[in-house]
């Protein structure tokens, strides 16, 4: 399954980028992320006196032969971090109407992050809730996983509205979830769910996609129609400043709320270079360091 050509330059720009985990991984298959567990890997950490019940295979037999003291050889374990990309495909992502810039940026972020995670050896999966059902690709680590995700996104058109909250059920401890949305629906419910996931040990990344036309409304008198509700408001000169104030205030509050919930929140403009955004996201995780 070939990768859609449109993602080629993006993936080329992300070669060599890794996405270290913010938190220690739990039990799982061997991977690149430090695990909360100690194991039998070759990466030596320390010795510990043998206690009854310890696995005799972890005894340092050479040390025992030289010093007649029984010590266990302790090594750091590394585990994978399954990464779930949850992409909002509601009608509000199909904006601007002519370019669908928000949806295109969401897809590029999803494919780019999938590629980065895949390069770290992590299995990547995709969830795209839609009005007619949920597109779900379970986390997989094989080499075609990114191509499958890209292909699935190319065949998806944002429309209607669907619940993101319901799609977050069943995530395993130690996994990583990336929510790519404009967060205009289910704002509080999604936040509560993210907070619960964080408590469970799930790394939560929230990517807020905002279009330029949303930040700076067009200087014309138009009847603004909400694509997911009957709401209609007249946009004209007298209310333009009020809109900018309201929207800016809401975005600030949204970012603050998500960060307090333990999530990595990043506002992404639809017009930004996706590769740069992805580097900023994964670097932010690295800069913050791993909290143990």
């Amino acid at each position: 399954m070939p990768l859609p050509l449109s993602y080629g330059p993006l993936l080329d720009a992300l070669v060599g980028v890794s996405w270290p985990a913010r938190r220690l991984a739990g039990a799982g298959a061997a991977g690149s992320h430090p695990s909360r567990l100690r194991g039998l890997t070759a990466e030596f950490t320390e010795y510990r006196p043998y206690r009854q019940g310890d696995d005799a295979r972890r005894l340092d037999w050479k040390l025992l032969a030289r010093t007649d003291r029984a010590y266990l050889r302790i090594t750091d374990d590394h585990a994978i971090r399954p990464t779930i990309l949850l992409l909002d495909a509601s009608a509000s992502l199909a904006f601007p109407e002519d370019t669908h810039g928000k949806w295109v940026q969401g897809c590029r972020l999803a494919v780019g992050l999938a590629a980065v995670a895949r390069s770290d050896g992590d299995p990547v999966g995709l969830i795209v809730p839609g009005p007619s059902g949920e597109l779900r690709l379970p986390p997989r680590a094989h080499r075609l996983a990114v191509a499958e995700i890209a292909r699935a996104l190319d065949e998806t058109t944002p429309a209607g509205s669907a619940s993101l909250v319901a799609s977050l059920d069943g995530l395993r401890r130690g996994s990583r979830v990336v929510i790519i949305s404009d967060f205009l629906d289910e704002e509080q419910a999604l936040l509560e769910r993210a907070r619960a996931l964080f408590v469970l040990g799930v790394e939560v990344f929230a990517l807020h996609v905002v279009a330029e036309e949303e930040r700076i409304p067009p200087a014309v008198t138009r009847l603004a129609v909400d694509p997911e509700s009957p709401l209609r408001r007249t946009l004209h000169d007298e209310v333009r400043e009020g809109y900018v104030t309201n929207f800016t205030r809401w975005r600030s509050a949204l970012a603050e709320a998500w960060r307090r919930a333990g999530a990595e929140f990043t506002e992404v403009r639809a017009e930004e270079d996706a590769a740069a955004v992805i580097r900023r996201i994964v670097r932010g995780a690295a800069d913050d360091g791993v909290s143990r």
Partner: protein
């Protein structure tokens, strides 16, 4: 192209301007667009009317204006431009004041004319095939008013044949042909009138008239008061006229059969009442006339107070015979009154009334000529009921565009 009713076109143009203004000034609902963050817009409606410098939908605006202009054009009744030539209309006087021989110059004028109207007391179109006829003492008095009115009414019929009309009147312009309405009617012809004067017909001297009334005849008293001049052109008889009387009348005299008792005349008895009065040519006599009969059919020269004929006249050769059903055998001094004398003078006058063939004053003729310009056919209203095929096409085009307008409007939503 000219327009028969250009006011419709002007009205349509004004309406189009209004439509354009409304298109630009209308308080329109703003165009909608999808905006996911619409909820952050303060809920405050835009109330000021939007004035666009450019039309929001030029095609729709043009279509609406086209519909209005096409309808206006159709109702304005477009006419093809007439050819650039001057048409000639001739009014030929054939009244009793005109000699019956036509001069060469008159014939030449008639040959060049596109429309010839002959007139005496009335006017009608003359065809070459109908000949010129002849005039006699019995020919009616001419009426320039009737002739001018006929010219005004017939002129629009020539509107499509030329761009101007030259009106020529061939007449002696006798005083008796002129009336109070002539100048007023002449103003309806907004152009020059060429007057071609012809000599008046020679006066015909009828044989000497008179009356053979009895000595006790009251009418004799009236005639005696009027003097012998009153009966110079007439012969008044009380009994049924004989062949001698008729031949005398045919020679140009006015034979007046005025029975003493109308009931004695061989006329139909239709009344048995009294009429309050009788009038003739502006003269009125009020008396309890006992009327019993109706005079024979003919030109009415006197009427009872209720409008029924009291005296009639019929041409007879070069003269005429007259029947008067006004009883005079009543008591009192009626026949001696001035009113009765004036009435009697008219009833025993020459055939067709008094002849006044003297031409009208030069000042009146100058007024009749009017301005130097010809009448432009573009200013004439075509005959009512005339079909203008182009109007139908314009209306059809307007209907097609009118039907397309909602389709276009729906397509723009």
């Amino acid at each position: 192209m000219t327009f028969a009713a250009p006011l419709w076109l002007a009205g349509a143009a004004s309406l189009s301007v209004g439509v354009v203004a409304l298109h630009l000034l209308a308080r329109r609902r703003p165009r909608s667009f999808v905006y996911p963050t619409a909820r952050f817009i303060p809920d405050q409606r835009a109330s000021a009317p939007a004035v666009d410098r450019r039309p929001s939908d030029l095609l729709l605006l043009l279509l609406r204006v086209a519909v209005i202009l096409l309808i206006g054009t159709a109702f304005a009744r477009p006419l093809p431009s007439p050819p650039r030539r001057t048409l000639r209309m001739v009014l030929l006087d054939r009244s009793r004041a005109v000699p019956h021989l036509m001069g060469d110059s008159t014939a030449a004028l008639m040959h060049q004319a596109q429309l010839i109207l002959v007139f005496d007391s009335t006017a009608h179109e003359w065809k070459a095939s109908s000949g010129m006829g002849d005039t006699s003492e019995a020919t009616p008095v001419g009426s320039l008013s009737a002739a001018l009115l006929a010219a005004v009414r017939r002129a629009p019929g020539l509107a499509t044949s030329g761009d101007s009309i030259a009106l020529q009147i061939i007449s002696p312009f006798a005083t008796e042909e002129w009336d109070e309405a002539t100048l007023a009617i002449r103003k309806l012809w907004r152009g020059r009138i060429d007057l071609i004067l012809v000599p008046v017909a020679p006066q015909i001297s009828p044989p000497a008239g008179g009356s053979d009334l009895a000595n006790d005849d009251p009418l004799g008293a009236t005639l005696a008061l009027l003097g012998p001049e009153s009966t110079r052109d007439a012969r008044v008889v009380r009994t049924r006229p004989g062949a001698v009387d008729s031949s005398w009348a045919a020679a140009g005299g006015a034979l007046v059969y005025w029975p003493r008792e109308a009931i004695d005349a061989p006329w139909h008895t239709v009344f048995r009442d009294t009429a309050g009065g009788v009038f003739s040519d502006g003269r009125v006599v009020v008396a309890p006339f006992l009327r019993t009969v109706r005079p024979p059919d003919g030109t009415v020269i006197a009427r009872w107070a209720d409008g029924t004929p009291a005296a009639t006249e019929r041409p007879l050769g070069r003269g005429c015979e007259r029947d008067v059903a006004i009883p005079t055998a009543i008591g009192g001094d009626l026949v001696l009154r001035h009113g009765m004398q004036a009435l009697t003078r008219g009833l025993v006058g020459p055939c067709g009334g008094r002849r006044t063939f003297a031409p009208v004053a030069d000042a009146l003729l100058d007024s009749l000529r009017g301005p130097p310009s010809l009448v432009a056919t573009s200013g004439l209203t075509p005959p009512t009921g005339g079909r203008v095929p182009a109007s139908g096409w314009y209306l059809a085009a307007a209907l097609v565009l009118f039907a397309a307008e909602p389709l276009l409007r729906r397509g723009r939503r």
